[in-house]
């Protein structure tokens, strides 16, 4: 092989990998461009309509606020439920569990993260929904149903059920990150606390958790990003109705999210305005999730810099 052909092959390979990377960049840019182009009819028709409160295909009204609020509310509730479960499991894992239990728990976390969304959906729809209606919603509606947030009737399929199913889907995200953070707590700080007569929990509470709090915060934000974009499970259990939040604020009402709306309506949408309003909702979701994810990444970058310098 002569020098010239080596040089040629060397730069050809460089252009191949560089070019492939640029194709990936192009895909990313095109996602924005295409969604913007296809939501143009809706934006041109009435730029503010997507922020209206009524979505009524028959009257040509495409107000996305109930779906946007549904996305935010279901994700926020799911995060609120997932945080104690994940932190509790992570602390149990790193501080108390014997080695065999730890091995079993890490399989559980892997599996939870692996199960497809649509499987959570069929389980939520056919197994959990009737039980939640009978054993959670009915008793609560019967006792404190006068509070609008818990008023009836209980449908089973509801904002509450969607949040509950989402919870189990994001637990592995928070847990796996939190476990790796807690297990890197410097041993000299742990020992300092133990030498002062602290119980295991006190070591966690005063040393391990404060040490990891920034990273735990980042993992929660990442989980929020995942919850915002979750589609199948939510679509199957939320009831896809826009009763919530304007007709009824109750957590037990059927509701909709951006994802459930797109998943359940797009394939049968014929009206250009309908299609482009759904695409516009997707664009809003894209922007929200990118903001959320990049802020989580910012925090994570800061932590890895701190760890690299410390």
């Amino acid at each position: 092989m002569n020098k010239k052909s080596i040089f040629f092959k060397d730069s050809a390979f460089k252009y191949l990998v560089g070019g492939s990377s640029l194709i990936v960049v192009a895909f990313f840019v095109m996602i924005f461009v295409m969604l913007a182009v296809r939501s143009y009819p809706s934006m041109a028709n009435d730029p503010l309509m997507i922020f209206g409160s009524t979505w009524d295909v028959n009257s040509g009204l495409y107000g996305g606020i109930p779906a946007i609020l549904g996305t935010l509310a279901s994700s926020a509730i799911a995060v609120a439920l997932a945080v104690p479960i994940s932190l509790g499991m992570s602390v149990f894992f790193t501080e108390y569990a014997p080695r065999r239990v730890r091995a079993a728990l890490s399989i559980v976390i892997d599996m939870l993260a692996t199960i497809p969304s649509v499987i959570f959906g069929i389980w939520g729809l056919w197994i959990v929904a009737p039980l939640v209606k009978t054993y959670v919603q009915d008793p609560i509606v019967g006792s404190i149903g006068f509070i609008p947030l818990f008023s009836g009737p209980a449908y089973g399929l509801s904002l509450f059920l969607a949040s509950l199913v989402l919870t189990f889907m994001i637990v592995p995200i928070i847990s796996s990150l939190t476990i790796s953070l807690l297990s890197t707590t410097p041993v000299e700080l742990r020992e300092a606390m133990i030498s002062l007569g602290a119980t295991r929990w006190e070591v966690v509470r005063h040393v391990a958790l404060p040490f990891s709090k920034l990273g735990i915060f980042a993992s929660i934000i990442l989980a929020l990003g995942r919850a915002l974009g979750e589609t199948m499970a939510v679509t199957m259990v939320i009831g896809n109705s826009f009763i919530w939040p304007f007709s009824s604020i109750s957590l037990f009402s059927p509701a909709s999210t951006i994802t459930s709306k797109i998943a359940s309506e797009l394939y049968e949408a014929v009206d250009v305005l309908h299609v482009s309003s759904l695409v516009e909702l997707g664009l809003i979701l894209l922007v929200i999730t990118l903001l959320v994810n990049s802020s989580a990444r910012l925090v994570i970058t800061r932590i890895s810099r701190r760890n690299a310098s410390g």
């Binding site: 000299e188 700080l189 300092a192 030498s195 002062l196 007569g197 602290a198 005063h206």
Partner: protein
């Protein structure tokens, strides 16, 4: 002179490896006892058996007895043992997420019995006793991690003293410090023994000679020699001890 802390045939293992062999020793009350010996001789493991921290290592095991004022340490609650027997570590380890004053009372706060005023008084008193108060009094709220290495180590000693322990264990507390900070801490240790029993590990025989009343020499997990410091250095009984203190190994 009363004995404070006694071990009887104390042995310890990491997994299958025995690191301490039948150590029997009696520590005098309100005296400074230095533990010397080449690295890996089991000094650290030994004092970690005294406040029951050795058993926290996976696979660690302890046999034999240890008594604090005649009471079996291994029959007590480990948390109580550690409150009575404080510890200072080789590397200064203030809690980076806590202020100077919170570091001092970190252990006391756990039991939650003291009022804010009591805690403030403890902070002031213990920081004064380690000679740190005047250096930091202007801003007790800043992080303990912002102090210099020597100051951090004195803060850690204050943190241990605030618990009002009866015994304090020190694991090479000056090995990470500069000579000036080292000499301040040596002064402090000499002062401490008026109130407290001090057991200090040092890899520096000069330091043992300067600050301790008695010196014990550990070699390969065994107690070779234990005597008054003066005797220990002037007329060592064992040839191994002599070789060690004259710097011919380790």
């Amino acid at each position: 002179m009363a004995t404070k802390l006694v071990t009887e045939r104390l042995s310890a293992w990491f997994g299958k490896k025995q690191v301490l062999k039948d150590i029997s020793i009696a520590f005098e009350e309100r005296q400074v006892t230095a533990l010397v010996g080449p690295s890996g001789c089991g000094k650290s493991t030994f004092i970690r058996c005294l406040n029951r921290m050795h058993e926290l290592n996976p696979g660690a095991r302890v046999e034999g007895k240890a008594f604090l004022d005649g009471i079996d340490i291994y029959g007590m609650d480990p948390m109580d043992v550690r409150r009575k027997i404080g510890m200072v570590f080789q590397k200064p380890n203030p809690f980076p997420n806590m202020s100077i004053s919170d570091n001092v009372v970190a252990g006391i706060k756990l039991s939650g019995e003291k009022s804010k005023a009591d805690l403030d008084a403890i902070v002031e008193r213990t920081l004064k006793s380690v000679g740190l108060y005047d250096e930091v009094k202007d801003d007790l709220r800043r992080s303990g991690a912002s102090l210099s290495g020597g100051q951090q180590q004195r803060l850690c000693i204050a943190r241990a003293l605030a618990m009002e322990p009866e015994v304090i264990l020190m694991d090479e507390p000056t090995s990470a410090l500069d000579p000036a900070s080292t000499s301040r801490i040596e002064d402090l240790i000499r002062k401490l023994k008026s109130e407290i029993t001090v057991i200090i590990i040092t890899h520096n025989v000069g330091q043992a000679a300067r600050i301790s009343d008695k010196t014990a020499f550990l070699y390969l997990g065994e107690l070779i020699e234990y005597n008054d410091t003066k005797e220990f250095f002037e007329s060592p009984k064992s040839p191994i001890t002599e070789r060690y203190i004259t710097g011919r190994f380790g």
